[in-house]
Amino acid sequence: MMRWIFGIMLAVTGMLSLVAAAMADDAYPERPVLLMVSYGAGGATDFQARIVTLAAGEEDMLAQPIAIVNKPGAGGRVGWNWFATEAEADGYTLAAYNIPHFVAQSIKGGVQYSADSFEPIANWGADPAVFVVGKDSAFNSMSDVITFAKENPGKLTFSGAGLFVGHHIAALQIEKAAGVKMAYIPTKGGGAAAMKAVIAGDVLAGVNNLSDAFRAREAGDVKILGVADLERNDFLPDVPTMMEQGLDVDNASVNFRGVMAPKGTPQAIIDKLAATLPKMFEHKNVVKRMKAGGSPMHIMTREEVQAMWAKRQETLSELLKGL
């Protein structure tokens, strides 16, 4: 008898909680959603995240605003560690991801996350790495750079925003493709600090974000020698890709930015977000602002992002094996 009652109670509770869960998912979101950005205010990721979440509050989007929280430190590791271990998987805490950064960091080790810790939702942007030199530099093409590097092994200093980020991957690929040894100088403080080092002549060259380099060139401070992507970029139609200059460098270093949720977030919520967010990124106000800011957009759905993550995992494991 007792067992019966217990069984019924269990069943009822189970059903109730199911119903409650379904209702909760239906009503999602009932309050503002947090989006954690693992870089500081003012950085490119923070800046773009603030723009692409602009339209979240509109009725046909999430009908709730998305608030940005910055947890900067150690090239994003602090924020993503927090996200993987402490963020509640209830759909109210999301994070921005940067590929290849977090995948490369998880391959290198020492962090508490990997691509399996997160559920991708949608991608909003893709910022390729470019190779820049100061405006008075003697280098005018990638072959000038490679020639110098061959004659002076380990002497060609070039900056980039940290280790195991897009810039570093591009640097590794260039060195590998040309078979030369150069001195990669990781800076702290994002692309801006790396760019400053190039403009001020602290280093001979640098790898940087296309968007930042584009602006610096507009300002007349740098020359851009090559783009580390599969094809030329709309912002820089005159700059050849690395491939065109005979260097076997693909798009593995392109900095993809998008939104993800922690593993364990209810499927219904993931589906709702995955359906809504790409629409939100296409909002005309968002597109206008992103274009104005020189931030290249690249909208991808959840399935496309999953495929891209898997591919990066493979390429980067191969590239970083020797390190």
Partner: protein, 151 residues
Amino acid sequence: MTCIQRLLPSAIIAAVGVWVAYISYTQEPADAFLFPRLIAAGFVMLAVWDLACNLLGASVPAPGMDATAALNLAPGMLVLLIYIFWGAKALGFYTATTIAVLTIQLLYDPAPRHLFRAWGRRCLITATFVAVMYGLFAKLLGVYTPKEFFH
């Protein structure tokens, strides 16, 4: 007494310094500990110097602690620790703040505790302050505390 009092903080700091130096010079990869090594050297040197000064009694006089002050601050310190390390998360920021602000006033208000007017004033100050904090942080700045006001 004062001599021991003064030595204690110096000794603790020196111990921390030695620990920092030990970690910096033994942990791998060495590249990540370049700067810690640099500062650990200065840290240990200064800490030993400071300790020596105290031992020889050559250091600049400092107020130190006395029994009255320790007794006075004990209840307040207790409220502070409970409020921060337990209350804020368990009870929610606003509830815990209300309780803490009221308790601290109660503990340190020179007015007699049975005086009705003093109670009125304390409650009013607490209510106004918490309302302002709620308006500023929860409503205006959109800071999401672990628990909102009522749940």
